[in-house]
């Protein structure tokens, strides 16, 4: 699918599917009362009025009508509602783009065009977001990047990929480059997370990372096996890796711009490529075995955007990867583990692996001199009771970093909601035989897990995103496909590629 800008007006354009995105007017106002749509309607010989005669369409958010176009000019006409101009966000624009893609299931759709009265609505340039939503919906359910194509039947209701999508009157092609880069990031993240544990092992993650880094000059990659991790003193990671169903790997990708500005940043993506308890935690769903590597998936996805768009800061991307299974050698309750930082941890719950992996990755971030460190994990923390399935929890020691991430998330259509770090919860982690224990009381585990991670955070700004719930969608929803959503990749990509 080729995304291009095009100087044609809707009247001049020739192709198969012409889509018009229309903001909602004042209450009960006929959309044709707007001068732009009325002019387009006149130029298209009344095709818009004919469409609106059969359907009620106000331009409300998520609204869509489709019908015949004008013979020999466009086969089909689609009207998409953008919602009230003051309520248009990157997220709603993405959903509008996805709605268009979802009409491309049948009929001719080789050439598609999208037109708006203005690509700026209420100060927001929608070009990037509309096209990204469209691209993401088009990529739904397909295995595009990874060679493991084990699903042959994509289903008839999936969008068929058009040859070209032309954005009529869009001024600059730069948002299209960004949209494509961010789409690629999410698609890779989705595929990595959706692929099962027998395909995506820690070593496979390492090979994907190595291949990605090898293709770009500015990347540098290093993969440590368990023995090398032990030599590097990553004892917490090694404790989690003992009993891994497949050999564990610690992956580091470093991106070095030609002229880096400021000190380096570090991003950690937790990679539990398998989690034997995850299935139980997910109520027996197979996704539970897959989604606990969503942090690693999101980070590798974001790395592809970094390769395309570049960044201004030196960035270290760290992925601790373990395939967690129960076994005679794996962690026992009560085990005492010394982490890389020297802090000792008493394992008091069966899901300590992820935290220990994060702890050592945070230590390594400090060793790499990171001034700002962001962790992304699917640790299965119970935050969804309050946030629901579509928002991620954000903890941070630094208001500016939290605001930067939330802004990147808003741009990416990923809602990050900041939760408090409460000093008193340190007491919940008191352990009789170690510096701290791995988990607090079950009721507040999200809050105490964040407190636990903060103990290992490097000096400087630190933030953590918990994305277990939004990493997986039970059904097709806007620009999400059913299954892995690639959540987190959009936020990280924008933050890493940002100023």
């Amino acid at each position: 699918m080729k995304l291009t800008t095009c100087a044609d007006t809707p009247a001049q354009w020739r192709g198969e599917v012409l889509a018009l995105a229309v903001p909602q007017g004042p209450a009960d106002q006929n959309p044709l009362a707007g001068p732009w749509l009325a002019a387009v309607d006149a130029a298209l010989d009344g095709a818009v009025s004919r469409l609106l005669a059969y359907d009620s369409f106000t331009g409300a958010r998520d609204e869509l009508v489709t019908g015949p176009g004008v013979p020999a000019r466009c086969e089909r006409l689609v009207l998409i509602g953008l919602g009230r101009p003051d309520a248009v966000t990157p997220h709603t624009a993405r959903r509008a783009g996805a709605a268009l893609a979802r009409t491309l299931t049948s009929g001719p759709n080789r050439r598609v065009a999208l037109a708006l009265e203005s690509w700026h609505v209420d100060g927001t340039d929608l070009t990037e977001h509309l096209t990204e939503g469209l691209s993401l919906a088009v990529h739904c359910g397909r295995w595009n990047v990874l060679p493991d194509r084990f699903r042959a039947d994509y289903g008839a209701d999936l969008p068929r990929e058009p040859e070209t999508v032309e954005l009529l009157g869009a001024a600059s092609a730069e948002p299209l480059t960004r949209a494509e880069a961010f789409t690629d990031a999410l698609v890779l993240a989705r595929e990595l997370v959706a692929a099962p544990a027998n395909l995506i092992t820690p070593d496979r993650l390492a090979r994907e990372a190595t291949a990605l880094a090898a293709a770009h000059d500015r990347f540098d990659v290093e993969v440590w096996d368990e023995e090398q991790c032990r030599a590097q003193g990553l004892t917490g990671f090694c404790a989690a890796a003992v009993g891994s169903a497949a050999p564990a790997r610690f992956i580091r990708i470093s991106h070095r711009p030609a002229t880096p500005s400021g000190p380096p940043v570090a991003v950690i993506g937790l990679g539990l490529t398998y989690d034997d308890r995850g299935v139980a935690r997910s109520g027996g769903a197979v996704e539970g075995a897959k989604k606990y590597m969503a942090g690693a998936g999101a980070l590798l996805g974001a790395a592809t955007a970094l390769a395309t768009l570049g960044g201004t800061r030196e960035a270290h991307l760290l992925i601790p990867a373990v395939a967690k299974t129960a076994g005679p050698k794996s962690l026992h309750l009560g085990d005492l583990v010394t982490t890389a930082s020297g802090l000792t941890v008493e394992v008091n719950h069966p899901d300590a692996h992820g935290r220990l992996m994060m702890a050592d990755a945070l230590h390594l971030a400090a060793r790499l001199g990171a001034e700002r460190t962001v962790g992304v994990s699917a640790l299965g923390l119970p935050v969804a009771a309050a946030l629901g399935p579509k928002a991620a929890a954000l903890w941070s020691t630094d208001d500016a970093l939290a605001a930067d991430l939330a802004a990147a998330g808003r741009d990416a259509g990923e809602l990050l909601w900041r939760l408090p770090l409460v000093d008193e919860y340190e007491d919940e982690l008191w352990a009789p035989f170690a510096n701290l224990r791995s988990a607090g009381p079950a009721g507040g585990d999200g809050a105490t897990a964040a407190t636990f991670l903060r103990r290992f955070a490097p000096q400087g700004a630190w933030a953590h995103l918990e994305i277990t719930e939004p990493a997986w969608s039970p059904r097709i929803d806007g620009y999400y496909n059913a299954g892995a959503t690639g959540y987190g990749a959009g936020t990280l990509a924008r933050w890493l590629c940002g100023p």
Binding site: Q232, G233, G342, H363, A366, R367, G369, P458
Partner: protein, 226 residues
């Protein structure tokens, strides 16, 4: 090391002496394609036989970027600097002369090995003992005088390593190219205005802590003589 033959030292004992007198070295290694350097004190273990190059032992913060390279056993270089000074042409007996710098230095090369917990403790004890020995006849301070919790906390944050010395370069450039007449003049000049290292250290301590030391809100006991 660049060292013209006139100044180069092949004498292991002489180089060891320099390290022991100036144990605060600069360790450098290539980390991720870039040169890193850190200044840390070293303990020198001379070999049992004369002429043995021996080994160095040291510790640093676990979060030091060099730790990755040390753990891999990558080759590192440690530079030790002896006394050095600007040489002023005015202070020679004859003319003409050009300004220069007199100095001595030893560069040590080797592949490090990480030390285990017990050996780390020994390294700390040995380093403290070596430094305390310079302050005799004062009673030497030993690590067991610190609260053990504090020691454990500190030890958990560091890693120790040893560096068997594979190669050592030494330079001792102290006017070997000058005549006795000129050297006598230089020596006399230095004797007449001795660089007082202790006084200079006091000055540096003050300069780098001006804000802290000059804040009137911090009550400080007046020391006698001030």
């Amino acid at each position: 090391m660049y060292a013209p033959p006139l100044y180069r030292s092949e004498d292991v004992a002489q180089q060891h002496d320099l390290i022991e007198a100036n144990p605060f070295g600069l360790i450098t290694a290539v980390v991720d394609g870039r040169i890193h350097g850190t200044h840390i004190p070293f303990v020198l273990d001379r070999g049992p036989e004369p002429g043995d190059r021996g080994r160095l032992r040291a510790h640093l913060a676990k979060t030091n970027p060099l730790v990755s390279a040390l753990a891999k056993g990558d080759e590192v270089m440690v530079a030790f600097l002896g006394p050095h000074s600007y040489i002023c042409p005015d202070d020679y007996a004859t003319e003409p002369h050009f300004p220069t710098w007199n100095y001595s230095a030893v560069h040590v090369y080797g592949r490090p090995r990480m030390l285990d917990d017990d050996a780390q403790r020994v390294q700390l004890d040995d380093l403290i003992a070596a430094e305390e020995a310079r302050r005799l006849p004062k009673r030497p301070w030993t690590l067991d005088r610190a609260p053990s919790e504090l020691v454990e906390q500190f030890r958990a944050a560091i890693v120790a390593f040893e560096l068997p010395i594979a190669h050592m370069d030494g330079i001792f450039k102290y006017g070997q190219n000058k005549t006795a007449e000129d050297l006598d003049a230089q020596i006399a000049a230095f004797r007449s205005h001795p660089a007082d290292h202790s006084a200079r250290m006091a000055d540096l301590l003050h300069t780098h802590n001006t804000a802290k030391l000059d804040t009137p809100t911090t009550p400080r006991t007046e020391r006698p003589g001030r």
